[in-house]
């Protein structure tokens, strides 16, 4: 599968990554090379082979729905780019 400029634009938007227009062509070529490597998988018939999600086939462990962590809002917000009155600030979303 070879990707073109429009594909990269679409993927970059899905990934919320700004890509400079000048870099599009080079990125499309690099990604296409990687896909070429990846597509060696297609030479193998995997009909009837179960996908392996966990190396040890374990099931997800669940814990009781109880509060286990203490409130550390101040410590966590001390490293945030912008906060006010205990809230994280972002540009206005609703006019």
């Amino acid at each position: 599968m070879s990707l073109d400029r429009a594909d990269v634009e679409k993927i970059a938007h899905l990934a919320r990554l700004e890509v400079e227009p000048d870099d599009m062509a080079a990125i499309a070529a690099e990604l296409s090379n990687i896909l070429e490597l990846v597509e060696q998988m297609n030479a193998v018939d995997t009909e009837g082979v179960a996908p392996m999600a966990h190396p040890l086939h374990m099931v997800q462990r669940l814990r009781a729905d109880e509060v286990t962590e203490t409130n550390r809002r101040e410590a966590f917000q001390a490293i945030a780019p912008q906060t006010e009155a205990g809230l994280y600030l972002v540009p206005k979303v609703i006019e």
Partner: protein, 484 residues
């Protein structure tokens, strides 16, 4: 002091030959004097280290000290360390002071180990040469023009140059074993789930695993002992008892069955590296092991499947870096979408972006079955290859890497050729198996690694097999010129 192993250092502390403060100062001084040319550390925490060393000295006096009490260690900068910068090698986290300790860090602290600092690494552990770090490449102490390998390149170089007796690393596709091989140190990737991932910044969650990097297998056993064990804060942590890793080190190897996969000795393997590995296998024959030819027929599919699974999981894990709660934020965002897009574009380097894009594509509507699901099926085939092999043999041996350390800059323009340097290490991650790399006879003055892969939770066996070799050879005691 820097030429002693951890047990010897611990004995020296107990005998009062030196204090932990003196030992810590010795390594801090070496870092100051020697790391300028290597760049193996991103941050060094002198004050915190000396405070920990003083506490260790008290504990050594008072009683209750363990084998790591007062022993200096460095952490790969992927492990969160409370109050210390934790950058993950990225501009995105250049301003990130971790608000908590990773379980691995917490456990090693509890054992009394002294944190010297945080080691350099490929950005978000994505790389095989340490060249993708925001903080610049690390140089291989054996050859300043060569890479140390990656992604745990800083840890490997620091241990090789004897700037620290031990370091932590993480391994998603070979990131402990490959740099261990290229720098001539011992590096162990445990079974998936053996060491907690809590506080270890996630790259590909179904593959990531932390482990020790040291000068010898006996040292690795001591560090793993402190790192390993069930952690309820990691949902994929294995609920398996932790054996005494030191207890089996001396077990006799007579009758050990070693499998040599023919796929690991084929095209692409440097002839001199092959010879060095075969010589090491010969040493095992002399130790009484039996060597058997085996086949892992789906080996060639490991790299392709990995470059779907790892980027897919990376694209999902790295979605958390949004410029809102921590990390890099762009200047003057126009709106929320602009904030996300430009913060991420400015915070991530090229290789990380490449993997996010590939992963996003592989998971996008209409492609999931063809890529991610297909790769997970292939993962099953690879895992079955190992299962069949372990019906016949106790351990699998081969080269850790196809060649010795390559030149800085040599592969940066060709991501695919870089990816192929992990051709022998990736399969163990896909299957979740433990693997260790130990130094064997060098080629042209550059280290060569022997990889030993074991069955699930067979870390004690791997350490035993590695240790017995290190008792009859001295490659692991060699340090590069200028660092002894």
């Amino acid at each position: 002091m820097h030429t002693k192993n951890i047990s010897e250092l611990a004995a020296g502390l107990r005998a009062g030959e030196y204090s932990s403060v003196e030992l810590t100062r010795h390594f801090l001084e070496r870092i100051r004097r020697l790391d300028g040319g290597l760049n193996s550390f991103i941050s060094v925490c002198e004050d915190a280290a000396l405070a920990m060393a003083r506490a260790a000295d008290e504990r050594l006096q008072r009683g209750g000290a363990g084998p790591l009490t007062g022993i200096p260690i460095a952490h790969k900068d992927i492990f969160c360390t409370q109050g210390l910068k934790t950058s993950c090698g990225s501009r995105m986290l250049d301003n990130f002071i971790a608000p908590y300790d990773a379980t691995v860090v917490e456990r090693l602290k509890r054992a009394g180990a002294v944190t010297l600092g945080k080691t350099n690494m490929d950005e978000f552990a994505m790389g095989s040469s340490n060249e993708t770090s925001f903080y610049g490449p690390v140089r291989n102490p054996w050859d300043g023009d060569a890479v140390p390998g990656g992604s745990s390149g800083g840890s490997a170089a620091a241990v090789a140059a004897r700037l620290t007796p031990a370091a932590t690393g993480t391994d998603t596709g070979g990131s402990i074993r490959q740099p261990a091989a290229l720098c001539g140190v011992t590096g162990l990737k445990p079974t998936y789930g053996r060491v907690s991932r809590y506080g270890m910044i996630a790259f590909a969650s179904s593959l990531d695993q932390g482990g020790p990097m040291t000068a010898s297998a006996a040292d690795a056993a001591l560090v793993l002992q402190a790192m390993a064990g069930f952690d309820e804060r990691d949902s994929t942590s294995a609920e398996q008892p932790v054996p005494d890793y030191g207890a089996e080190l001396e077990h006799d190897l007579a009758g050990l069955r070693i499998g040599l996969p023919r796929e690991y000795f084929g095209e692409g393997l440097d002839a001199a590296v092959a010879e060095s590995v075969e010589e090491a296998v010969g040493e095992y024959r002399r130790l009484g092991a039996e060597v058997v030819d085996i086949s892992l027929p789906n080996t060639h599919l490991a790299v392709p499947a990995y470059y779907v699974v790892a980027p897919a999981e990376c694209s999902s894990n790295l979605a958390r870096f949004d410029g809102v709660r921590y990390g890099h934020r762009c200047e003057d965002p126009k709106n929320l979408e602009d904030l996300y897009k430009r913060s991420r574009a400015g915070g991530f380097g090229d290789e990380v972006k490449r993997r996010i894009l590939i992963g996003t594509y592989a998971l996008s509507a209409g492609y999931y079955d063809a890529y991610y699901l297909k790769a997970q099926r292939i993962r099953h085939l690879i895992s079955d290859d190992f299962k069949h092999a372990f019906d016949r043999v106790d351990v699998i041996m081969g080269p850790t890497t196809p060649g010795t350390a390559f030149r800085i800059g040599e592969r940066t323009d060709d991501p695919v050729s870089m990816y192929l340097s992990d051709i022998y290490t990736i399969a163990a991650n896909l299957a979740g198996l433990p693997g260790i790399s130990i130094p064997v006879a060098p080629v042209d003055g550059k280290p060569v690694g022997l990889q030993i892969i074991g069955n699930y939770f067979a870390e004690a066996r791997l350490l035993n097999v590695a240790h017995k070799y290190q008792q009859v050879t001295d490659w692991h005691t060699k340090a590069p010129e200028g660092y002894l």
